[in-house]
Amino acid sequence: MSTVLDQIEQQIAKLSTKAVKKNTGNIRTIADGVAKIDGLSDVMYNEMVAFPGGAIGIALNLEETEVGCVILGDVSKLKEGDEVTTTGKLLSVPVGKALLGRVVDALGNAVDGKGPIDAKETYPVERIAPGIMARKSVNQPLFTGIMAIDSMIPIGRGQRELIIGDRGTGKTTIAIDTIINQAKINKVGLASGDAKFRPVYSIYVAIGQKSSNIVRTVAALEAAGALEYTIIVAATAADNPANQYIAPYSGAAMGEWFMENGMDALIVYDDLSKHAVAYRQISLILKRPSGREAYPGDVFYLHSRLLERAARLDGKGSLTALPIIETLAGDVSAYIPTNVISITDGQIFLETDLFNQGIRPAVSVGLSVSRVGSSAQIKATKQVGGKLKGELAQFRELAAFAQFGSDLDAKTKAQLERGARIVELFKQPAFSPASIELQVSVLFAMQKGFFDPIDAKKVVVAAANMKNFFTTRKDALLTEIRNKAALDKDLEAKLQAACDEWKSGYTA
């Protein structure tokens, strides 16, 4: 007993005589989440500094007479003259599977009221992107569940595909659909017991969004059973710009943990326009020189260093990034959109006109591209949808001419009829992604002309009916397509027979 007490007393004695060295400074000014600090002579760039009351700051501006810090957390109790100390650490966030199903803030603290997160590891928020030798080419598909995208603008694991469009064109819906589809695939794959199956975990980073929108997103993911495979990093419009600035990097760190540990992850940055605006605000308050549209000179690096962290690593996992950019009046030539377009491996462009015409998802086939191309597609999709993009492009061109009302030859009419049906076929309601085997089946039916006798306006209903038919009555065939991932003669014959069966039972 006395030995134990002696040990504790010795420990207390040791502590009471131990002097702790701190490098300190004092707040000179504080405004809009940015503090100018006198002192801190030993501070390093990007180092965490501790403010009174537990608030954390990051040293961003190291000047001769002062240090500029962005503050993460509650700034309302900080005042001029308060003492600030260096920590000698870089900002880190908790990572790991413990975060799945949780909503966290930019620092990885739970904000969903489900209690603390039991994360065993932390990763630094700012990390150098993987180098050239560590990377592997992108050739494994990541299915979004959206027919127009999976068949014409395929996305691969480790790719960075930009979703760009005006407000209210369905950008977030595409991202959420993709997350839901990953969850669906994960459930099927994990249930199958296939040892080679690699689930995709998702991270959704909400930057500068309304809290009500985030609640809606969480509800949609929960309703679809996708929340258990998803981490939501929320930096709402009510959060200070520093939190909005750091949130995507925190999300990237969480995604990197999956990638480094041999797993695949998908990260959605919703959206980087607001992220750039938050960074602009910080930079202006820090009195950094401003350039075009008042953005600082390093706004390109802001996004390039973030998106470069998405990769497919040799012998490890992958991190696929879906950044979102909101344009004004469809202007893709603005500063931030052109920057992010040049960084990413392609873009999905959503048009307001298409959206208003009822073509949803409003993907503009002409302006959308995936630079990874068909290498991230399974063979079956290539077989049934390889020519779709060309056909649709021809349709748009011919449709423009057809508006003049001149007589058209039979071939042109047929192309127009077919194009109109493809457009209708690609219409898909929100939050209902289709599995790749179902997409292949429907596209096969389109390729073989099963929709040709149906009035173009009724194709959506017919396609829904066909999907229902395949899901409820041809499950074995769908499983075979999923497992083979290519259409051989036997499978084609089965598909043909199934389509014939559907046709015989379907009345428009």
């Binding site: 009471s16 002097a19 702790v20 060295k21 701190k22 300190t24 537990g54 009195k287």
Partner: protein
């Protein structure tokens, strides 16, 4: 405005360099600088002098070990602290004593921006942050 402040800062830095002898701020040199500025007032003299004041005060703080204590501190302890800090920073450092009952017990020594915390209140603060 930024250019004016930058010019003032540059001039203050030159004046500060003239005020330092062997890494120590010289009282005579500072008096000389102030007399010169009074005689040949530069543009934005207030800005220059404020910047000069800041540089000198930062430098002086580096030469002083400000010892805050809750109880009494023996002169020998102060001498020992001054000697240890002089050795650590490789420059002459004088220790000054300041009573601070808020520390509860122990010492806090400040040399420039560096703070050596060995007080009970400091440990309690660290403990409350870690809980």
């Amino acid at each position: 405005m930024a250019a004016v402040a930058k010019q003032a800062q540059q001039l203050a830095r030159q004046l500060f360099k003239l005020s330092v002898v062997d890494s120590v701020v010289s009282t005579d040199r500072v008096a000389g600088v102030l007399a010169y500025v009074e005689k040949h007032a530069p543009a934005n003299a207030v800005l220059v002098l404020k910047a000069y004041h800041r540089l000198v005060s930062v430098e002086l703080a580096k030469s002083e070990a400000r010892v805050e204590h809750a109880g009494a501190v023996a002169p020998a302890a102060l001498t020992a602290i001054a000697a240890a800090m002089t050795k650590k920073y490789s420059r002459p450092i004088a220790a000054t004593s300041h009573a601070n009952p808020a520390l509860l017990a122990g010492l806090r020594v400040r040399v420039g921006d560096d703070v050596y915390e060995s007080s009970v209140s400091g440990q309690l603060a660290a403990l409350s942050l870690s809980v």
